[in-house]
Protein backbone atom coordinates (compact mmCIF):
# COMPACT_ATOMS: atom_id res chain seq x y z
CA UNK A 1 0.00 0.00 0.00
CA UNK A 2 2.85 2.34 0.77
CA UNK A 3 4.28 2.01 -2.71
CA UNK A 4 1.11 3.39 -4.29
CA UNK A 5 1.40 6.65 -2.38
CA UNK A 6 5.06 7.09 -3.32
CA UNK A 7 4.14 6.43 -6.96
CA UNK A 8 1.33 8.98 -6.75
CA UNK A 9 3.73 11.55 -5.25
CA UNK A 10 6.22 10.91 -8.04
CA UNK A 11 3.45 11.24 -10.64
CA UNK A 12 2.56 14.61 -9.17
CA UNK A 13 6.20 15.62 -9.30
CA UNK A 14 6.37 14.57 -12.97
CA UNK A 15 3.23 16.58 -13.72
CA UNK A 16 4.73 19.70 -12.14
CA UNK A 17 8.02 19.16 -13.97
CA UNK A 18 6.21 18.77 -17.29
CA UNK A 19 4.24 21.97 -16.69
CA UNK A 20 7.45 23.83 -15.87
CA UNK A 21 9.02 22.43 -19.05
CA UNK A 22 6.14 23.76 -21.12
CA UNK A 23 5.87 27.14 -19.41
CA UNK A 24 9.49 28.08 -18.61
CA UNK A 25 10.84 31.06 -20.55
CA UNK A 26 14.40 29.74 -20.63
CA UNK A 27 15.09 26.74 -22.89
CA UNK A 28 17.74 25.38 -20.51
CA UNK A 29 15.23 25.36 -17.64
CA UNK A 30 12.78 23.48 -19.87
CA UNK A 31 15.38 20.85 -20.74
CA UNK A 32 16.32 20.31 -17.09
CA UNK A 33 12.65 20.04 -16.11
CA UNK A 34 12.20 17.35 -18.80
CA UNK A 35 15.18 15.51 -17.32
CA UNK A 36 13.66 15.67 -13.83
CA UNK A 37 10.41 14.19 -15.16
CA UNK A 38 12.32 11.38 -16.90
CA UNK A 39 14.35 10.43 -13.82
CA UNK A 40 11.19 10.42 -11.70
CA UNK A 41 9.67 8.05 -14.27
CA UNK A 42 12.64 5.69 -13.86
CA UNK A 43 12.10 5.67 -10.07
CA UNK A 44 8.43 4.83 -10.71
CA UNK A 45 9.50 1.88 -12.88
CA UNK A 46 11.85 0.69 -10.13
CA UNK A 47 9.13 0.91 -7.46
CA UNK A 48 6.68 -1.02 -9.66
CA UNK A 49 9.18 -3.88 -9.97
CA UNK A 50 10.56 -3.35 -13.48
CA UNK A 51 14.35 -3.00 -13.11
CA UNK A 52 14.96 -3.68 -16.82
CA UNK A 53 12.82 -0.70 -17.78
CA UNK A 54 14.33 1.43 -15.01
CA UNK A 55 17.89 0.82 -16.25
CA UNK A 56 16.94 1.66 -19.84
CA UNK A 57 15.01 4.76 -18.79
CA UNK A 58 17.89 6.13 -16.67
CA UNK A 59 20.45 5.54 -19.42
CA UNK A 60 18.36 6.95 -22.28
CA UNK A 61 17.32 9.93 -20.16
CA UNK A 62 20.95 10.74 -19.35
CA UNK A 63 22.00 10.61 -23.01
CA UNK A 64 18.98 12.66 -24.12
CA UNK A 65 19.63 15.24 -21.39
CA UNK A 66 23.30 15.59 -22.39
CA UNK A 67 22.33 15.96 -26.06
CA UNK A 68 19.61 18.54 -25.40
CA UNK A 69 21.75 20.59 -23.00
CA UNK A 70 24.57 20.59 -25.53
CA UNK A 71 22.26 21.73 -28.31
CA UNK A 72 20.70 24.44 -26.13
CA UNK A 73 24.02 25.75 -24.78
CA UNK A 74 25.41 26.26 -28.29
CA UNK A 75 22.60 28.71 -29.03
CA UNK A 76 23.43 32.27 -28.12
CA UNK A 77 19.96 33.26 -27.09
CA UNK A 78 18.35 30.53 -24.99
CA UNK A 79 15.05 32.26 -24.41
CA UNK A 80 12.09 30.80 -26.18
CA UNK A 81 10.60 32.67 -29.10
CA UNK A 82 7.12 31.24 -28.87
CA UNK A 83 4.43 33.64 -27.67
CA UNK A 84 2.98 32.54 -24.35
CA UNK A 85 -0.61 32.40 -23.37
CA UNK A 86 -1.01 30.72 -19.99
CA UNK A 87 -4.81 30.77 -20.07
CA UNK A 88 -4.97 29.03 -23.44
CA UNK A 89 -2.44 26.37 -22.39
CA UNK A 90 -4.32 25.77 -19.17
CA UNK A 91 -7.64 25.40 -20.97
CA UNK A 92 -6.18 22.96 -23.50
CA UNK A 93 -4.61 20.85 -20.74
CA UNK A 94 -7.85 20.87 -18.73
CA UNK A 95 -9.89 19.81 -21.79
CA UNK A 96 -7.41 17.04 -22.57
CA UNK A 97 -7.51 15.76 -18.99
CA UNK A 98 -11.32 15.79 -18.91
CA UNK A 99 -11.39 13.90 -22.23
CA UNK A 100 -9.00 11.24 -20.93
CA UNK A 101 -10.94 10.87 -17.65
CA UNK A 102 -14.21 10.58 -19.56
CA UNK A 103 -12.73 8.00 -21.92
CA UNK A 104 -11.42 5.99 -18.96
CA UNK A 105 -14.79 5.79 -17.24
CA UNK A 106 -16.63 5.24 -20.53
CA UNK A 107 -14.42 2.31 -21.52
CA UNK A 108 -14.65 0.67 -18.10
CA UNK A 109 -18.43 1.18 -18.25
CA UNK A 110 -18.82 -0.36 -21.71
CA UNK A 111 -16.74 -3.45 -21.09
CA UNK A 112 -18.23 -4.16 -17.72
CA UNK A 113 -15.95 -5.19 -14.89
CA UNK A 114 -12.51 -6.28 -16.01
CA UNK A 115 -12.29 -4.06 -19.09
CA UNK A 116 -9.63 -2.02 -17.30
CA UNK A 117 -8.15 -4.13 -14.50
CA UNK A 118 -7.46 -2.46 -11.14
CA UNK A 119 -3.97 -1.35 -10.11
CA UNK A 120 -1.59 -4.24 -9.49
CA UNK A 121 -3.55 -6.83 -11.48
CA UNK A 122 -2.19 -6.86 -15.04
CA UNK A 123 -4.29 -8.08 -17.95
CA UNK A 124 -2.05 -10.99 -18.85
CA UNK A 125 -1.80 -12.25 -15.28
CA UNK A 126 -5.46 -12.66 -14.39
CA UNK A 127 -6.82 -15.80 -12.82
CA UNK A 128 -8.99 -18.15 -14.81
CA UNK A 129 -12.74 -17.70 -14.52
CA UNK A 130 -15.53 -19.58 -16.25
CA UNK A 131 -15.66 -16.91 -18.99
CA UNK A 132 -11.95 -16.34 -19.73
CA UNK A 133 -8.96 -18.69 -19.77
CA UNK A 134 -6.04 -17.85 -17.46
CA UNK A 135 -3.49 -15.19 -18.45
CA UNK A 136 -0.29 -16.12 -20.17
CA UNK A 137 2.17 -14.60 -17.70
CA UNK A 138 1.98 -17.43 -15.16
CA UNK A 139 2.88 -19.81 -17.97
CA UNK A 140 5.89 -17.69 -18.95
CA UNK A 141 7.10 -17.46 -15.35
CA UNK A 142 6.78 -21.20 -14.84
CA UNK A 143 8.35 -22.41 -18.10
CA UNK A 144 10.69 -19.72 -19.45
CA UNK A 145 13.82 -21.04 -17.69
CA UNK A 146 13.06 -24.57 -18.87
CA UNK A 147 12.19 -23.69 -22.46
CA UNK A 148 14.68 -20.93 -23.28
CA UNK A 149 17.47 -21.40 -20.77
CA UNK A 150 17.39 -17.75 -19.72
CA UNK A 151 17.07 -16.95 -16.01
CA UNK A 152 15.67 -13.46 -16.70
CA UNK A 153 12.05 -13.99 -17.70
CA UNK A 154 11.79 -10.48 -19.20
CA UNK A 155 14.58 -11.24 -21.66
CA UNK A 156 13.04 -14.65 -22.40
CA UNK A 157 9.83 -12.89 -23.46
CA UNK A 158 11.59 -10.08 -25.35
CA UNK A 159 14.04 -12.16 -27.34
CA UNK A 160 12.43 -15.58 -27.54
CA UNK A 161 8.63 -15.69 -27.16
CA UNK A 162 8.06 -12.22 -28.60
CA UNK A 163 11.28 -11.71 -30.56
CA UNK A 164 9.32 -10.65 -33.64
CA UNK A 165 8.23 -7.47 -31.78
CA UNK A 166 11.83 -6.81 -30.80
CA UNK A 167 12.86 -7.08 -34.44
CA UNK A 168 10.27 -4.40 -35.21
CA UNK A 169 11.70 -2.15 -32.49
CA UNK A 170 15.22 -2.66 -33.84
CA UNK A 171 13.96 -1.72 -37.31
CA UNK A 172 12.38 1.45 -35.92
CA UNK A 173 15.67 2.48 -34.28
CA UNK A 174 17.58 1.68 -37.46
CA UNK A 175 15.28 3.76 -39.65
CA UNK A 176 15.24 6.70 -37.23
CA UNK A 177 19.05 6.73 -37.10
CA UNK A 178 19.09 6.64 -40.91
CA UNK A 179 16.75 9.63 -40.92
CA UNK A 180 19.07 11.47 -38.52
CA UNK A 181 22.00 10.88 -40.85
CA UNK A 182 19.99 12.09 -43.82
CA UNK A 183 18.99 15.31 -42.08
CA UNK A 184 22.38 16.03 -40.49
CA UNK A 185 24.73 15.20 -43.37
CA UNK A 186 27.18 17.97 -44.19
CA UNK A 187 27.18 17.66 -47.98
CA UNK A 188 23.98 17.85 -49.92
CA UNK A 189 23.43 16.02 -53.17
CA UNK A 190 22.79 17.92 -56.38
CA UNK A 191 21.29 16.86 -59.63
CA UNK A 192 23.49 17.08 -62.67
CA UNK A 193 21.27 19.68 -64.31
CA UNK A 194 21.71 22.04 -61.36
CA UNK A 195 25.49 21.68 -61.34
CA UNK A 196 25.84 23.02 -64.85
CA UNK A 197 23.99 26.21 -63.98
CA UNK A 198 26.06 28.94 -62.38
Amino acid sequence: MGVEYIVLMLLGFMLIAALIAVEADDLLSSVIAIGAAGFALSVVFLLLGAPDLAITQVVVETIALVLLIRLVVTRHDTTSEMPRDALRTGLVLLAGGLLLAGAFFAISGIGGKGAIPPFGEPVLGHKATDAVPPGVSADYLANSAEETGAANAVMAVLLDYRAYDTLGEATIIFVSILGTYAVLRRFGRRKKSQETEP
Binding site: P51, D52, A54, I55, T56, V59, V60, T62, I63, V66, L67, R70, L71, T74, R75, H76, A145, E147, T148, G149, A150, A151, N152, V154, M155, A156, L158, L159, D160, A163, Y164, T166, L167, A170, T171, I173, F174, I177, T180, Y181, L184, R185, R186, F187, G188
Partner: protein
Protein backbone atom coordinates in the same frame (compact mmCIF):
# COMPACT_ATOMS: atom_id res chain seq x y z
CA UNK B 1 43.03 26.88 -29.47
CA UNK B 2 43.02 23.31 -28.32
CA UNK B 3 39.90 21.23 -28.72
CA UNK B 4 37.72 20.04 -25.87
CA UNK B 5 37.36 20.93 -22.23
CA UNK B 6 39.72 21.59 -19.32
CA UNK B 7 42.48 19.10 -18.29
CA UNK B 8 40.45 18.04 -15.24
CA UNK B 9 37.58 16.90 -17.45
CA UNK B 10 39.97 15.29 -19.93
CA UNK B 11 41.78 13.25 -17.29
CA UNK B 12 38.54 12.14 -15.64
CA UNK B 13 37.11 11.14 -19.00
CA UNK B 14 40.30 9.23 -19.82
CA UNK B 15 40.02 7.30 -16.55
CA UNK B 16 36.29 6.64 -16.62
CA UNK B 17 35.37 6.06 -20.27
CA UNK B 18 36.94 2.60 -20.43
CA UNK B 19 35.03 1.43 -17.37
CA UNK B 20 31.79 2.80 -18.82
CA UNK B 21 32.37 0.88 -22.06
CA UNK B 22 33.11 -2.37 -20.17
CA UNK B 23 30.01 -1.88 -18.02
CA UNK B 24 27.88 -1.44 -21.13
CA UNK B 25 29.17 -4.67 -22.63
CA UNK B 26 28.63 -6.45 -19.29
CA UNK B 27 25.02 -5.22 -19.06
CA UNK B 28 24.35 -6.53 -22.57
CA UNK B 29 26.09 -9.90 -22.18
CA UNK B 30 24.39 -10.72 -18.86
CA UNK B 31 20.98 -9.53 -20.08
CA UNK B 32 19.56 -13.05 -19.93
CA UNK B 33 20.53 -13.67 -16.28
CA UNK B 34 20.04 -10.25 -14.68
CA UNK B 35 18.20 -7.00 -15.50
CA UNK B 36 19.61 -5.13 -18.45
CA UNK B 37 19.83 -6.21 -22.04
CA UNK B 38 21.21 -5.23 -25.39
CA UNK B 39 19.47 -1.88 -25.68
CA UNK B 40 20.54 -0.54 -22.27
CA UNK B 41 24.07 -1.88 -22.75
CA UNK B 42 24.31 -0.30 -26.18
CA UNK B 43 23.23 3.08 -24.86
CA UNK B 44 25.84 2.87 -22.06
CA UNK B 45 28.53 1.93 -24.60
CA UNK B 46 27.49 4.90 -26.74
CA UNK B 47 27.66 7.08 -23.61
CA UNK B 48 31.39 6.40 -23.34
CA UNK B 49 31.83 7.66 -26.93
CA UNK B 50 29.67 10.69 -26.11
CA UNK B 51 31.89 11.41 -23.08
CA UNK B 52 35.01 11.31 -25.26
CA UNK B 53 33.41 13.57 -27.89
CA UNK B 54 32.42 16.10 -25.24
CA UNK B 55 35.74 16.04 -23.37
CA UNK B 56 38.25 15.81 -26.22
CA UNK B 57 36.40 17.17 -29.23
CA UNK B 58 35.26 15.42 -32.36
CA UNK B 59 38.69 15.03 -34.02
CA UNK B 60 40.08 12.93 -31.14
CA UNK B 61 36.94 10.85 -30.99
CA UNK B 62 37.16 10.10 -34.70
CA UNK B 63 40.51 8.44 -34.11
CA UNK B 64 38.60 5.82 -32.10
CA UNK B 65 35.59 5.46 -34.37
CA UNK B 66 34.67 7.42 -37.48
CA UNK B 67 31.09 8.12 -38.61
CA UNK B 68 31.45 5.79 -41.59
CA UNK B 69 32.58 2.97 -39.26
CA UNK B 70 29.53 3.76 -37.12
CA UNK B 71 27.25 3.37 -40.15
CA UNK B 72 28.93 0.07 -40.99
CA UNK B 73 28.58 -1.40 -37.48
CA UNK B 74 25.01 -0.13 -37.23
CA UNK B 75 23.99 -1.84 -40.45
CA UNK B 76 25.97 -4.97 -39.56
CA UNK B 77 24.25 -5.27 -36.16
CA UNK B 78 20.81 -4.92 -37.70
CA UNK B 79 21.62 -7.44 -40.44
CA UNK B 80 23.07 -9.97 -38.00
CA UNK B 81 20.00 -9.69 -35.73
CA UNK B 82 17.83 -10.40 -38.76
CA UNK B 83 20.15 -13.29 -39.66
CA UNK B 84 19.57 -14.85 -36.20
CA UNK B 85 15.85 -14.69 -36.94
CA UNK B 86 16.27 -16.27 -40.38
CA UNK B 87 18.59 -19.07 -39.21
CA UNK B 88 15.70 -20.12 -36.98
CA UNK B 89 14.01 -21.48 -40.12
CA UNK B 90 16.48 -24.36 -40.10
CA UNK B 91 15.13 -25.31 -36.66
CA UNK B 92 11.49 -24.90 -37.57
CA UNK B 93 10.44 -21.25 -37.90
CA UNK B 94 11.07 -17.54 -37.66
CA UNK B 95 13.02 -16.68 -34.48
CA UNK B 96 13.07 -20.25 -33.20
CA UNK B 97 15.69 -20.62 -30.49
CA UNK B 98 17.96 -23.09 -32.28
CA UNK B 99 20.83 -23.20 -29.79
CA UNK B 100 18.98 -24.14 -26.61
CA UNK B 101 17.90 -27.64 -27.82
CA UNK B 102 21.50 -28.44 -28.82
CA UNK B 103 23.37 -27.18 -25.79
CA UNK B 104 21.20 -25.78 -23.08
CA UNK B 105 23.90 -24.78 -20.64
CA UNK B 106 23.16 -24.18 -17.00
CA UNK B 107 20.33 -21.76 -16.23
CA UNK B 108 21.81 -18.69 -14.54
CA UNK B 109 25.29 -19.09 -16.04
CA UNK B 110 26.67 -16.89 -18.83
CA UNK B 111 26.48 -19.53 -21.56
CA UNK B 112 22.77 -20.25 -21.45
CA UNK B 113 19.73 -18.95 -23.21
CA UNK B 114 20.82 -19.84 -26.72
CA UNK B 115 19.89 -17.16 -29.23
CA UNK B 116 19.02 -14.68 -26.46
CA UNK B 117 22.71 -14.14 -25.69
CA UNK B 118 23.56 -13.82 -29.40
CA UNK B 119 20.68 -11.42 -30.09
CA UNK B 120 21.66 -9.25 -27.13
CA UNK B 121 25.19 -9.01 -28.51
CA UNK B 122 23.98 -7.93 -31.96
CA UNK B 123 21.51 -5.40 -30.49
CA UNK B 124 24.39 -4.02 -28.41
CA UNK B 125 26.46 -3.46 -31.56
CA UNK B 126 23.54 -1.93 -33.42
CA UNK B 127 22.36 0.48 -30.73
CA UNK B 128 25.85 1.57 -29.65
CA UNK B 129 27.02 2.29 -33.20
CA UNK B 130 23.77 3.98 -34.14
CA UNK B 131 23.71 6.36 -31.17
CA UNK B 132 27.43 7.11 -31.36
CA UNK B 133 27.10 7.87 -35.08
CA UNK B 134 24.10 10.11 -34.47
CA UNK B 135 26.00 12.02 -31.78
CA UNK B 136 29.05 12.42 -34.02
CA UNK B 137 26.78 13.73 -36.78
CA UNK B 138 25.26 16.22 -34.34
CA UNK B 139 28.73 17.36 -33.23
CA UNK B 140 29.71 17.94 -36.87
CA UNK B 141 26.43 19.78 -37.45
CA UNK B 142 27.13 22.05 -34.49
CA UNK B 143 30.54 23.02 -35.86
CA UNK B 144 29.12 23.85 -39.26
CA UNK B 145 26.10 25.66 -37.93
CA UNK B 146 27.65 28.11 -35.46
CA UNK B 147 25.83 31.41 -35.82
CA UNK B 148 29.01 33.50 -35.74
CA UNK B 149 31.08 31.04 -37.75
CA UNK B 150 32.10 31.33 -41.35
CA UNK B 151 29.21 30.23 -43.51
CA UNK B 152 31.53 29.73 -46.47
CA UNK B 153 33.06 26.68 -44.77
CA UNK B 154 29.67 25.04 -44.84
CA UNK B 155 29.32 23.26 -48.11
Amino acid sequence: MSQGMTPIVKNTARLVSGFIAVFGIYIALTGHISPGGGFAGGVILAASVVLIVLAFGRETAERIITPSQCHLWDAAGAGLFLAVALVGYFAGGFFVNFITPISKGQVGKLFSGGTILVSNLFILIKVAAGLAGAFLALAAFRRAGLPDGHPKEVC
